[in-house]
Symmetry: C2
Subunit: 339 residues, 2 copies
């Protein structure tokens, strides 16, 4: 994929240099290496191709190649932080090869500190890539376990954005429709990787989730961030492990919204049957996608640090039901219990 992209650009007379050291949960040092590569090449544009890691690192490279200071100065909501300036940024192009993160249509870049793997979120409207090429063909070779994990990331974005406590009916509409797309296409893409229509539907669902989560996210993401920080879990897999317990936690305070989500995924019955049915549907989806059944299978231990990181994460501040450290403890105990 990369080879044909590079040769195609070179055939058009463009000088291309490749930086491809970032992988997994990206680190600030990956960004710094990328900035050095950008400057060494005297580049004037950043074209990112890959999953969430590549796209997030690409945004951060574009930012730090043309802004003063340290990337920590651009952390979202940081007191006395520095502004992301549209007029300083180079041309940015994102080409997603997974359908999950939606980073290609978002203004955030999530990278981890090298010392303690704490995730930091950089945000600026100007960081939204100028151009996006969302081509289902580029996701056809994604293996089923990554289709599952990234697809569950898209699903979690849509569900948590819909439930987040901020007022934003436009994002809620986009989130519900994104959920409808996940229901229609995720299992199809998992079971038949070459189903181009399903791949396209999931790319769309991923973009809708990322647009919708401007409204906010919730406890699932705070748990997932802690699991990635402490155990380097894949972000989408971490969301998949935590979404069912998190939704059980949220249900009572937002029963009406669960009814609506149940309707969207086709559950029949009374209001509460639809709402509870939605949580069952999530669990069945996790089993179909072969998401592990417990966090211990992934060598996760319920440590004080795991609880610290989850509690300090800001995503759950937008969860409608407040979540205490004791609540997080219970959520992690139930992680992977999809039934």
């Amino acid at each position: 994929m990369l080879t044909s992209l590079v040769s195609g650009l070179e055939a058009k007379g463009l000088a291309v240099a490749v930086y491809s050291e970032a992988a997994g949960n990206p680190l600030i040092s990956h960004v710094e290496q990328g900035v050095r590569a950008y400057k060494a090449h005297d580049a004037d544009a950043v074209l990112s191709i890959g999953g969430g890691c590549a796209l997030d690192v690409g945004k951060a490279i574009a930012l730090m190649s043309h802004h003063p200071g340290n990337i920590l100065d651009y952390e979202d909501d940081k007191p006395n932080g520095l502004p992301v300036r549209a007029d300083l940024l180079p041309l940015t192009i994102s080409i997603p090869t997974t359908a999950g993160t939606g980073s290609e249509v978002g203004g955030s870049s999530v990278v981890s500190r090298d010392d303690n793997h704490q995730k930091i979120i950089v945000w600026g409207a100007a960081l939204i890539p100028r151009h996006v090429i969302a081509d289902p063909d580029l996701t056809l070779s994604l293996p089923p376990h990554l289709t599952a994990a990234t697809g569950m990331d898209a699903l979690t974005h849509n569900v948590e954005a819909y439930l987040a406590k901020n007022f934003h009916p436009i994002c809620e509409g986009i989130a519900l429709e994104g959920l409808r797309y996940v229901n229609r296409y995720l299992v199809r893409a998992f079971e038949n990787p070459s189903d181009r229509e399903a791949r396209g539907g999931m790319l769309m669902a991923a973009m809708m989730g990322a647009i919708a989560f401007q409204k906010g996210l919730g406890v699932t993401h705070s748990c997932a961030h802690a699991l990635s920080t402490c155990y380097d879990l894949h972000h989408g897999l971490a969301n998949a492990m935590m979404i069912v317990p998190s939704m059980r936690f949220n249900y009572e305070q937002q029963a009406e919204k669960f009814t609506t989500m149940g309707e969207v995924v086709g559950i029949q019955g009374s209001a509460s049957e639809k709402g509870q049915g939605f949580i069952r549907w999530l669990g069945e989806l996790c089993r179909t996608l072969k998401i592990p059944n417990s966090l211990s299978e992934l060598n996760v231990k319920l440590t004080p640090r795991l609880l610290d990181v989850a509690t300090q994460d800001t995503c759950h501040l937008n969860n409608t039901r407040a979540c205490t450290r004791a609540d997080f403890e219970k959520l992690f105990q139930e992680g992977g219990a999809h039934v």
Copy 2:
């Protein structure tokens, strides 16, 4: 409302001049008068307050005060037309006092030729007002018949945008959620004009409809445009008269989408019960809102010109089911038949 706005601005040291000659279905001559008033005042901003007429004329005044040529040169999709240039436009602020048109968040301005009342649509992304003040309090004094007519406009935007044939899942999600808001709030606002929550919900539904209809509209709007051109009918009322026959016309080709719309407004039962139930729900809504039962009550006659204008209108080109002149004839015969 206007007096307190003007005195408030003057108290801040701003020099204000009022142009308030436009009303009903606005004419190009209203825009021309407004441009003269703008230039006579040596203005540097356009603040529009009112319903769709005021907001659309405000956009056109902002455009034509700072662009060369005639407004007809800026008609949407006109061959060799002139471009709307963001860098030429003055500051624009829109304050809606109805919840229907959604013009406050849209890039179009619809005005009629003085000679034949033919509607022309000017479009440019830069025409979207820079600032919007959507305050439910400003709609509390709207009388019930205008609450009904403008509310049906918002409803029609959401429904036709959802059904339009272009591909745009984001707009479809926004449209469905806008429909949910109309279902929740329109009758409440009609029956109790001082219900602030319902007024706010309808303002939101109107904005969502206008955002969603970037995807396209359909036959209801082509009928409504013809009724306004030939009989000066209020645009929202014209949509209300035509939506039930138009949806009967659309049902078979898009049964699945009708099922979804039925679900959104709370219809129970099988897929086809929900879909057919949605059309019945529309008709019951029209009766609750005291929309007239036949076009002849409004002195409309089925003339060749009415059919010409509807057929030549471009909105129905985005209707999923193609609509011929004979189809339009049948639709107008059924206009106002809500049952």
